[in-house]
């Protein structure tokens, strides 16, 4: 049973990688399992300067999911390159760096800085973080801005560029086409959905930022629908994200049209989520009549 899958800049031994923001820079979870088992690692977002992020509480639990408003806290791209990424060199696992910013210039700056890192195989362009006041989500909801920032980053980058789409739009196909026009090598989808939860006793939103990004199994049907639609409309590699907990979830994403997947919230519930999913994947593929991962990609469109 072959689990390998290929996308621009990425030859993956299996299609499972931890999602950005849910795995730090790998050190903590390397205590639980060998990171060589992963298909790739998408590390936490990098911005030009260090960011403190939002006030706490920053997370709230919901039915089948969670809300977060971390606010892109990170030590800044230079420290990430010098102090965080070299740790991942010891593993035979490609690293995808997540690039965030408030302006096109900041995205370009972070992208150029990452060109000097030897530890990166591809970029994930974060134009969809709903939890920062400036930048982030506005690039992910306006097709013209999305195209512009994708083009700028693609021009500046030595690496293939995957653009992470926001689900907080009416027309996901329009957004996917816009970033394709901007030169994206692939897309990852979806980021979190903007949500809110109110504490009854305190009569106020639980998250200090008031709104947060909803993730977890609650969002999976939305992600599956959007990937299915985008796969029908255009031919770009897709990293599927949203509520993946089991190997069955992975196969569902492959059927919808994803070429690989990223696991987010499940890592918090179970630090061994990724290796357990990878271990179960061959049997689940076999059970549903697939000979390999690549055999299953897009098969949900044939009926």
């Amino acid at each position: 049973m072959s689990l390998s899958t290929k996308m621009p800049g990425l030859t993956l031994k299996n299609p499972v990688m931890p999602a950005s923001g849910c795995f730090g820079f790998g050190k903590e979870y390397s205590q639980f399992f060998d990171l060589n088992e992963l298909g790739a690692i998408i590390v936490k977002a990098a911005t030009r300067e260090a960011r403190y992020g939002n006030p706490t509480p920053r997370v709230a639990e919901t039915a089948s999911g969670m809300l977060n408003a971390i606010g892109l806290q990170n030590p800044g791209v230079e420290k990430i390159i010098d102090e965080e990424l070299p740790f991942l060199r010891q593993f035979d696992t490609p690293v995808i760096a997540n690039v965030a910013g408030s302006t096109v210039e900041e995205y370009e700056h972070v992208t150029k800085a990452l060109n000097r890192s030897e530890d990166v195989s591809a970029l994930e362009l974060n134009i969809s973080c709903p939890n920062v006041k400036e930048g982030g989500v506005q690039f992910g909801t306006d097709p013209e801005l999305a195209k512009e920032v994708t083009y700028a980053v693609k021009q500046a980058s030595n690496y293939p560029v995957y653009v992470k789409l926001s689900p907080n739009v009416a027309n996901i196909i329009g957004m996917a086409k816009a970033v394709a026009d901007g030169g994206a090598d692939g897309i990852s989808m979806i980021n979190t959905l903007t949500g809110m939860q109110i504490n009854l006793k305190q009569r106020k939103p639980i998250i200090a930022n008031k709104t947060g990004g909803l993730s977890g199994p609650a969002v999976k049907p939305i992600a599956i629908r959007m990937i299915y639609e985008v796969r029908q409309a255009l031919d770009l590699p897709i990293i599927g994200i949203g509520g993946i907990v089991t190997a069955e979830d992975v196969v569902e994403y492959l059927l919808a049209g994803a070429n690989a997947v990223a696991v987010g919230t499940a890592n918090f519930q179970n630090p061994l989520a990724c290796p357990e999913i990878i271990q179960a994947l061959p049997d689940v593929l076999n059970k549903y009549g697939f000979e390999s991962v690549e055999d299953a990609i897009g098969k949900g469109h044939e009926a």
Partner: protein, 253 residues
């Protein structure tokens, strides 16, 4: 080394209103140091629940946790019974740096569900020959627990908010009447209490342990941060850099 284990519950008893004491069997029990917590998975909830360690039994490889029902997650945890198994990550977080401290007399200041980790601390201090004075605050008489256990370790004072047991008022009211003759204080409880205690004892060296809503519990998600006191543009992760901090290390807001 942090790890995930499926642990059998040896006992599960209610010790005060909405408050439960659970003993868990684990090969890692002796690795758990005063101040650390464990992170527990619940079948019906996406996020694990952090619960502090209230004591260990090295000989029998088990440890004690105490939690209070605050919401649906802790309610689910309250429904387990002896013989059931829990999915636990341990050991988590920092601990009181007792080996580095010159200590003859310690002041323990606990509030509500902040009391359990201080019991393990106080017991360890007593075993090291340190004199322990404890000040414990609860909302009311029905929520008081472990008073007798603390009394075996040294002078123990209880305050309740409504005056239904011990002194009426806050832990800070009791501290005002105590002599200043301790080397370090150790405090755990709600943030407003910790702010009041650290302000009141500003002239003393102390350690506090904090609680916050957590995502991963191991340091990857940056959900449970607290600003650094020396540089408020930087932060500490409560789950990994904490939950124990020197009182002058973090900015309580």
């Amino acid at each position: 080394m942090i790890t995930k284990q499926l642990l059998q519950i040896i006992s599960h008893v209610q010790i005060a209103e909405d408050t439960f004491e659970v003993v868990l069997q684990s090969s890692l029990a002796k690795e758990l140091k005063p101040g650390q917590f464990v992170h527990i998975a619940l079948k019906n909830h996406m996020l694990r629940r952090p619960v502090s360690v209230a004591g260990i039994d090295k000989e029998n490889n088990n440890f004690t946790i105490i939690f209070k029902i605050f919401g649906e997650g802790t309610r689910e945890l309250s429904q387990f019974r002896a013989g059931d198994a829990l999915d636990v990550i341990l050991p988590c977080g920092s601990y009181y740096p007792l080996d580095d401290l010159q200590l003859d007399h310690a002041l323990i200041v606990g509030g509500g569900i902040g009391v359990p980790p201080l019991y393990y601390l106080a017991k360890t201090l007593k075993e090291k020959g340190v004199k322990v004075t404890s000040v414990l605050g609860f909302q009311n008489k029905d929520q008081v627990f472990y008073e007798e256990k603390f009394q075996l370790l040294g002078d123990t004072h209880i305050a309740t908010n409504d005056g239904s047991y011990g002194s009426q008022g806050f832990v800070t009211d009791i501290i005002s009447g105590l002599p200043d003759a301790f080397d370090y204080y150790f405090s755990c409880g709600p943030t407003p209490m910790l702010k009041a205690v650290t302000n009141q004892l500003e002239a003393h060296n102390g350690y506090i342990s904090l609680e916050e809503r957590m995502g991963c519990g191991v340091g990857t998600c940056y959900a449970c941060v607290v600003p650094s006191k020396t540089d408020p543009t930087k932060s500490k992760k409560i789950c990994k850099d904490g939950p124990v901090f020197a009182a002058n290390e973090v900015l309580l807001t």
